[in-house]
Symmetry: C2
Subunit: 350 residues, 2 copies
Amino acid sequence: MQGIWLTHPAATFNETARTSALNRQGQLTKPPGALGKLEDIAVQFAAFQGVEKPNLQRIHISIFAADHGVAEENVSLFPQAVTAEMVRNFARGGAAISVLAQHLNAELEVINLGTVSVVEPLKNVRDERIAAGSANFAKTAAMTESQCQQALQAGRNAALRAQKNGAQLFIGGEMGIANTTSASAIACALLAESPQNLAGRGTGLDAAGVSHKAQIIAAALALHALDAQQPKEVLRCLGGFEIAGLAGAYIAAAQLGLPVLVDGFISSVAALVAVRINPSVRDWLLFAHTSAEAGHQRVLTALNAEALLQLGMRLGEGSGAAVAVPLIQLACTLHSGMATFAEAGVSEQH
Amino acid sequence: MQGIWLTHPAATFNETARTSALNRQGQLTKPPGALGKLEDIAVQFAAFQGVEKPNLQRIHISIFAADHGVAEENVSLFPQAVTAEMVRNFARGGAAISVLAQHLNAELEVINLGTVSVVEPLKNVRDERIAAGSANFAKTAAMTESQCQQALQAGRNAALRAQKNGAQLFIGGEMGIANTTSASAIACALLAESPQNLAGRGTGLDAAGVSHKAQIIAAALALHALDAQQPKEVLRCLGGFEIAGLAGAYIAAAQLGLPVLVDGFISSVAALVAVRINPSVRDWLLFAHTSAEAGHQRVLTALNAEALLQLGMRLGEGSGAAVAVPLIQLACTLHSGMATFAEAGVSEQH
């Protein structure tokens, strides 16, 4: 019965609060709709939080890190050691997501689900290594059934910690050399797309590198012969521990009624896995940005998602999601702080 | 010799600081280019501020308000009284831009360049009324030569105040019932576009309303027979006092070496006027967002500008620019706060 939680329904919205917030939007001193997407966000957060005037102060960021066996196929510009080195950089405050978390006063934790080498104990880093990296999916399944379950559960535990700490928003980040290869393979399997369409530059491959990466993915898809209707099996064969961790976290957050701000390509693929496992999760997901990675727009389209930002970012770590946080905060602040026509003595339209 | 300042060259950048910042970007612990536009912004602010590690704390917002004679042609859904009512709402903190300014800890001032009715003295509102609204440009020139000059100078004075207060960023906002009609007319004259292409919904006109607005503009363009090579004359005949104020502020800010974050459609048209009067101004302008107003993208294209945000906003007041401020702050914070590969002991690419 392990993993039975995965398909439990997501929390329901507070429709009364949504209606109150919608009414309030119509009374604020601006033409109806003039704040565009910021109005939708405010109303959505009212429904999430069950209050007419939502706010966003407490943000939880969990970064899942793991190595990928497929890195030995020469699919990344960076050596595999970088995964563990970046875990240290996250902990010491030098990485992009560390700087952003500090600026946003967000809670940041790193969950090491399987770097190749052991990382010494570090502040805010949880050692939950499942194995010394996933297996090379070009040759065999990336995870065993039990490893995949363990990674999903690690994600769930992160969402539970976030809720316990009073988080109002969950952001997942990832770090793992070669994980755009893994994410692209998963997206191809779930969307029946060819690797030529979904494989991208990752950390900066040239055209020949992208072509090689697409070939590795194509061969792996042929090897595993997966069924798009079995998303957990797709995840197990092609995923990394960190992608499974993200998917588990998204599912659990939705079940807990904790909204999720999804980052870039890899996170969106994890979101796609989560929604395919449990469609009710979708309502609790917001999408922060469209990244520069080739396949991201395709994955967003499959999720019927429109991202908030288009800044050409492609870093991962949860960085794009963190950059979008101020927009949500401003949306809530405008919604709660603006005067109504009646309060301000401003004439309404003819 | 009044107005001779308009064509003085803009300040020059600090190229040494730009080069240092570019070098630093290449050493930060991320793949080159992975922060997308945020990297460009950080390097640009390094050049603006003359330091390798820029920051953005002090933001100045000047809202120019004025009424438009063309409002009598039935081109807006809202009564003209709203301009003065919104001046009060700005001052009392209930308007969108007031809420945003408070959240950003920005300096906010309102410059009344010509509401139809006198507004009682209010905190942070400067009474610089040139006339009881501009003249109806469907019948005659909107401003006299001297009124236009006075409005441009009022804008310049705002930029001078901002600099004196140590501002690191200038945001201009506007309020004036019927001013999308004025801005659309100016854009048509400067870009040789037809009103059918550039007239938009403003505060929310339906298709018939937009069509009527386009007809009013077309007739006015025929009446004034303007030359696109004479941008000041285009401004004088079709502009509002607040659009001239914005144009003057942008020109002066660039001359003072104070970067400008341009808001939506009306502000971008003022930026177009400013750049046509003085092309050197362009280098100091950043564009915050692409609004939902029909003609905005066309104006941005003419300015060779790519806006940071696309949120479907169409409120004016400087609100879209204020919403984009956190992105610039995060860009600077990331640039200044991230560790280099050497500092973090992270391996560089193969």
